[in-house]
């Protein structure tokens, strides 16, 4: 059993989906209950991954490998390291909460709705566990389809425009990425005489810088659209705004992380020379910093609650990509932690918009005001989500941002100086949103009788709040889990970085120094 743990985690949602298809469509509550149960089971089976994970062991764990399409050299090859572990857990938990949050929001095509979500769960987990590039690509594309339908069928007024835009934009990126993958695939055949998509094999390739750069840009288009990085971000506000609540939650919390994960799992290890190429680093850091400031400024003037949260994602993901291309341990570790944080904080913010949308069916900020009087519990949870997103110390966001900024500062202090403005602007747009919606007097009579959060809704928020506090107060386990994989990444891109101390100054450093930690 335990040697197939990862496969169980991967296919639990799919198995539930197959059963779901045989349930009678008219019995909506049965379908809801079953889908929730499956998602919960999906989360529960993923917990042993965390408890059995050995943080001291480098490389991949829970590895499973079998031939899939031998003629092409394609394998069913999965496994996780610390980075994927955290993202898988984020997926199983947030996926479950998203499904839980849909109970009363979705009344039409209920069966198809839950089927899409369960399919998507398997797809997303697959992306984070695949160690075979072809398998990865399959899962990557699998995710696209359910999200397209979720936006297009259960979305808002402009759902078709948003869904098509999302689908085509992402697909365009994927195709270029596929070209990059195939380049590596054929290069491998040329150099080693056989075909394979295994990442660990492709890492052995010896590619000239020029080719690496081409492949890097091909990957870049695919991943940058997914993240999304400026200027490839405009599908995001539309998709987020039109998607149903749970769709936005999954989109923001998990789907976007596929892009940042792609950089970490493929771009950096497979193309190390290109990844430290000054032009590429400066371009990516530049785009990240633009995203941080630009996204925040655009947030300030949004009139649509959900769109504001969507643009805040652009800003926050800018921090994540900045951390990655600082190309040092803290930048990368901070980036992964911030990816989790963004999943928690922005997930909460979207769930909050969803809760209010379900009550009032408008996302116009001007329609609200003074809600703290009517819905004090909602206001408290919102305040919490806001502070977590704004990076208040002792909540999750601070740990991620601070660590990323340290990495950025180490690489170039001006990067940190520019990025830190995002911290100021982040507080500004969130506090202003809070003031306009929650504070003041109730000026709109329609808001008078709004019911506060109910128990089911609170149950959705409770785990996220607890998680936010945990990361904020005791982030040590997260850093520990990330230490090995991040060290390997840094070693791969910048060999010798972590042995520097051996050759460097002999005088005793004042800090609790770590010598040659690897």
């Amino acid at each position: 059993m335990s040697e197939h743990l990862l496969s169980i985690v991967l296919f639990t949602p799919l198995a539930g989906l197959i059963v779901l298809l045989f349930l009678p469509s008219e019995n909506k509550n049965l379908i809801r209950a079953w889908a929730n149960l499956t998602a919960l089971a999906g989360f529960l089976v993923s917990i042993p991954l965390a408890t059995r994970f050995d943080k001291n062991q480098p490389g991949f764990q829970f590895v499973e490998k079998a031939d899939w399409i031998p003629s092409l050299g394609v394998k069913y090859y999965i496994g996780i390291d610390g980075i994927s572990l955290l993202l898988v857990l984020l997926t199983t938990l947030v996926g479950f909460l998203a499904i839980l949050s849909s109970w009363s929001a979705i009344t039409e095509h209920v069966k198809a709705y839950y089927a899409m979500f369960l399919l998507q769960q398997t797809g997303m987990i697959g992306v984070f566990v695949a160690l075979d590039f072809f398998l990865f690509y399959v899962f990557w594309e699998v995710v696209l389809v359910p999200m397209y339908f979720i936006i297009g069928v259960w979305g808002g007024p402009r759902k078709l425009y948003a869904a098509v835009k999302f689908f085509l934009y992402t697909l365009a990126g994927s195709v270029l990425m596929l070209l990059g993958i195939l380049t590596l695939y054929f290069q491998h055949h040329r150099q080693f005489g056989y075909y394979t998509f295994e990442i660990s094999e492709l890492m052995k390739l010896d590619l000239p810088l020029g080719l690496q750069q081409w492949v890097f840009w091909a990957f870049f288009i695919g991943f940058a659209i997914k993240v999304p990085m400026f200027p490839f971000h405009t599908w995001l506000p539309d998709a987020h705004t039109e998607a149903p609540t749970a769709g936005s939650v999954v989109l923001a919390s998990i789907l976007l992380k596929m892009g940042t994960y792609g950089f970490l799992r493929f771009s950096l290890p497979l193309l190390p020379k290109a990844s430290i190429d000054p032009l590429i680093v400066q371009a990516l850091v530049g785009l990240s910093i633009v995203a941080i400031i630009y996204g925040a400024l655009v947030c300030l003037m949004q009139q649509d609650w959900k769109k504001l949260v969507a643009y805040s994602s652009v800003s926050h993901l800018g921090f994540c990509t900045l951390g990655i291309f600082a190309l040092n341990p803290n930048g990368i570790a901070g980036s992964v932690i911030q990816q989790i944080n963004h999943g928690i904080s922005t997930g909460m913010l979207f769930l909050l918009v969803g809760a209010i949308y379900e009550r009032r069916h408008t996302r116009e900020i001007g329609e609200y005001g003074g809600l703290a009087h009517v819905m004090p519990v909602f206001a408290t949870v919102f305040a919490f989500a806001m502070l977590s997103s704004a990076g208040l110390p002792l909540l999750n966001g601070f740990v991620g941002e601070f660590t990323i900024l340290q990495g950025a500062f180490e690489a170039n202090r001006w990067w940190a100086a520019l990025a830190v403005t995002g911290v100021v602007l982040g507080a500004a747009y969130l506090l202003w949103l809070y003031q306009r919606t929650m504070l003041g007097q109730v000026t709109n009579p329609k808001n008078l009788g709004l019911p506060d959060l109910n128990l089911r809704e609170l149950a959705v928020f409770a785990p996220l709040i607890a998680w936010a506090v945990w990361i904020g107060v005791y982030p040590k386990p997260y850093f520990e889990v990330l230490e090995k994989p991040v060290a390997q990444l840094v070693e791969r891109v910048r060999p010798g970085y972590l042995q520097q101390a051996v050759t460097a100054h002999a005088e005793a450093p004042v800090a609790p120094a770590v010598r040659g930690a690897r």
Binding site: M301, H373, L405, R413, V423, Q441, L448, L498
Partner: protein
């Protein structure tokens, strides 16, 4: 188990109180603030404005429990603090560090020297003479203000919410001063900022309150950005942010005072940017006067006695760094002096009793930074400590007046309250005399020492001294203007308000009395060295702080020699200026009350400039809020929608356009060619078709004709 081992508990008590309020407060105090806060015309009329005596306290048992619990947690912290400080005093090394666990346990990184260090910060506490002073001030004054609040907030909605926030504030403030490293200090730093935000916006149905709360948080965040960069630089240079390690490194042979702008100076400057935010110094002071939107006990605790002094504490805590950064120290001194006189000038003409005190606070904080800037860190802390007494007292006294007048804050509608509010009057008088710098009271000792140090320290200057002296005169003037307008002369409020004016209950006046005693007596542990009649025991404050300020003290020791006559002269000068300020206030507001108005009319430009606070808020509003933030946001939103997304939509349009084009091409060109061929065939075949009539006779005729033609052809040859 000694108190020293339990210092981690000191912040935890109020945190527990805050947590109980968060989860159970609503049940304990079911009175809802929300039921009444509707805009006029939407529902029932608003009812929770101001401090009206809406029915005398029908305090339920839940409310009583809150009144016991929340001040009680702070009292427990106070007791544990006293115990710990008493034990600290007996330690030979006068420092106690307790590390609970590694909070931020980040990954290795390369420092400036190329060696590896770990990006980490403890959850650790440091009790040394400096933090000892701070925790006693925070828990002592904090406790008194909690007790006062029982009376002051008794009739207000959201009683539990208020005490929950207050307890949370005390938790964060204690974390701030007890942290053993900058990162954990920053936790407290941001946490008190959050509580400040929550409490300024306590009356959140008021737009002005939530505006002020936002302003406070965002302006502070600008400072925090500097603080964060300062910390990152510290990691980069030293590999650590733990106070003890940073100071040990700085004490090493590698560092000497920097001649120009080196890393240490930049690092110190970045930290100081943080301090200007939290401690309301120019150019980031603008949030503090607006913060008076919060309930008055909040103004007393957070915006006078404790939180706003955090920046001073942080700079004093970093004295080893600042004393190696003379360029930055000069900036600190100049900013401090400038803020002191700027804020005092604004306070001269304000009419809102709390705003006068707010600008006074900004001004006094300027004094503290002035002291830091000239290297007299212990004096800055000394003034912080005396200021906590008299400024908390003045705010609480003002609160008592406001309470008595049913929410009135405009001094133009006060007057003659001396007999009605005797305790408030006499205690506030003690506070005013103290802040004015009348010899023997607390403020005299600390302010006089600051002025002396500014004059005599090698980093000081006569110009800064003159600014400090003028500010002292202004301080005496505006404080006694406040006292005279409020308590003397004829009552200017309406008869109804006057009839209802009454002294506050003991739960409020007892804290006033205790603070008044402190304002009178607290300075006697920092008697000038000039007063040789007093033994060294009267100068214990400086000696107490010596272990923390070693480096700074060493620098101060080579201060130039000034004779006693100069010092006596300067002391006399500062007292004379204070008395002069009081005298002018007396002439203006008691003897010839028509004078101020005439003066204002004779120089309307200056008067209006001061009344409008030098128009700084207007300039900031236009440049930063409307210009950069809103203007930039709007412009970029447009850019995003039209250019970036326009590009995407344009691509989509282009795709559709080319597809239309292809359809046209396909229909007319590609398929056209095909059809052209068929047409051509048709055209060509048309004459042939004409022949194909289907009549056999015609075919036979053509056949015969054909045969004849062929035969004819051969026959002719």
């Amino acid at each position: 188990m000694t108190f020293l081992d339990l210092i981690w508990l000191i912040p935890l008590f109020p945190l527990a109180g805050a947590a109980i309020m968060l989860f159970l407060g609503r049940k304990l105090d079911p009175q809802q603030p929300s039921a009444v806060a509707l805009a006029p015309g939407v529902g029932p009329a608003p009812g929770m404005h101001g401090l009206g005596h809406a029915g005398h306290s029908h305090a339920g048992p839940g409310k009583k429990l809150i009144s016991l619990l929340c001040p009680g947690t702070v009292l427990l912290s106070l007791i544990f603090s006293i115990g710990a400080v008493a034990e600290l005093a007996r330690l030979p090394e006068k420092t106690h560090q307790l590390i609970l666990y590694t909070w931020i346990a980040g990954l290795p990184f390369q420092t400036a020297t190329g060696s590896l260090a770990r990006f980490s910060a403890d959850w650790g506490f440091l009790l040394d003479p400096l933090s000892a002073v701070m925790i006693l001030v925070v828990t002592g004054v904090g406790f008194l203000i909690h007790v006062y609040s029982i009376g002051y907030m008794g009739h207000e909605g959201g009683y539990y919410r208020f005490f929950g926030y207050m307890n949370l504030f005390v938790f964060f403030m204690l974390m701030l001063v007890l942290a053993n490293n900058y990162a954990l200090l920053f936790v407290g730093w941001e946490g008190v900022g959050l509580c400040s935000y929550l409490l300024i916006g306590f009356y959140f149905h008021k737009k002005s309150a939530s505006d002020a709360a936002n302003k406070a948080f965002i302006v502070n965040r600008i400072g925090d950005a500097g603080f964060i960069l300062g910390m990152l630089m510290m990691f980069h240079v030293f590999g650590t942010v733990r106070f003890a390690d940073v100071n040990r490194a700085l004490a090493g042979p590698g560092y000497a005072p920097e001649a120009s702008w080196g890393v240490l100076s930049v690092m110190a400057l970045l930290l100081f940017v943080g301090a200007t935010g939290k401690s309301a110094q120019f150019p980031l002071y603008v949030w503090l006067p607006d913060a008076m939107e919060g309930p008055t006990p909040v103004s007393a605790l957070i915006h006078a006695a404790t939180m706003v002094t955090a920046g001073v504490y942080m700079v004093a805590r970093s004295n080893a760094l600042f004393s190696l950064a003379p360029a930055t120290s000069d900036i600190v001194a100049v900013i401090g002096a400038f803020t002191a006189i700027l804020a005092a000038s604004i306070a001269l003409v304000q009419n809102d009793i709390k705003r006068v005190l707010a600008y006074s606070t900004v001004s006094q904080l300027g004094y503290m930074f002035l002291a830091c800037g000239v290297g007299a860190y212990w004096v800055a802390i000394f003034h912080l400590y005396t200021h906590a007494f008299f400024k908390a007292l003045l705010f609480l006294g003002a609160g008592s007046v406001i309470h008595a007048l049913g929410g009135e804050q405009d001094m133009r509608r006060m007057g003659g309250l001396k007999e009605k509010l005797p305790t408030t009057y006499w205690t506030m008088l003690a506070g005013s005399l103290a802040i004015a710098g009348i010899p023997g009271l607390a403020g005299f000792f600390s302010k006089d020492e600051i002025l002396w140090q500014v004059y005599s320290s090698p980093q000081g200057s006569t110009a800064l001294f003159v600014v400090g002296l003028i500010t002292a005169g202004m301080t005496a003037f505006y404080m006694f203007r406040l006292m005279f307008l409020t308590f003397h002369g004829k009552p200017r409020m309406d008869a109804h308000t006057l009839a209802h004016a009454h002294e506050s209950p003991p739960v409020m006046t007892v804290p006033l009395a205790v603070l008044a005693a402190g304002s009178v007596l607290a300075g006697w542990i920092g008697v000038p060295k000039l007063w040789t009649a007093f033994p060294d025991a009267f100068r214990s404050f400086e000696h107490w702080l010596e272990p923390v300020m070693l480096r700074a003290a060493a620098h101060g020791a080579d201060a130039g020699h000034h004779d006693a006559a100069t010092e006596w002269l300067l002391m006399g000068l500062s007292v004379a200026v204070a008395l002069g300020g009081i005298w002018v206030a007396r002439v203006f507001y008691l003897r010839r009350p028509e004078l101020p108005e005439r003066l204002a009319q004779s120089a309307p430009g200056l008067y209006n400039t001061l009344l409008n606070k030098w128009y700084v808020d207007e300039v900031y509003g236009a440049v930063f809020v409307d210009g950069l933030a809103k203007g930039g946001g709007t412009a970029l939103s447009e850019f995003d929608a039209r250019v970036v997304d326009g590009g995407v939509n344009g691509t989509g349009w282009l795709a559709r356009f080319t597809s239309q084009l292809s359809i046209w091409w396909d229909t007319w060109i590609v398929d056209g060619a095909v059809r052209l061929v068929s047409f051509a065939v048709k055209v060509v075949s048309y004459p042939v078709r004409l022949l194909q009539t289907g009549y056999v006779q015609a075919y036979a005729l053509i056949f015969v004709l054909g045969v004849l033609v062929i035969f004819g052809y051969y026959w002719m040859r």
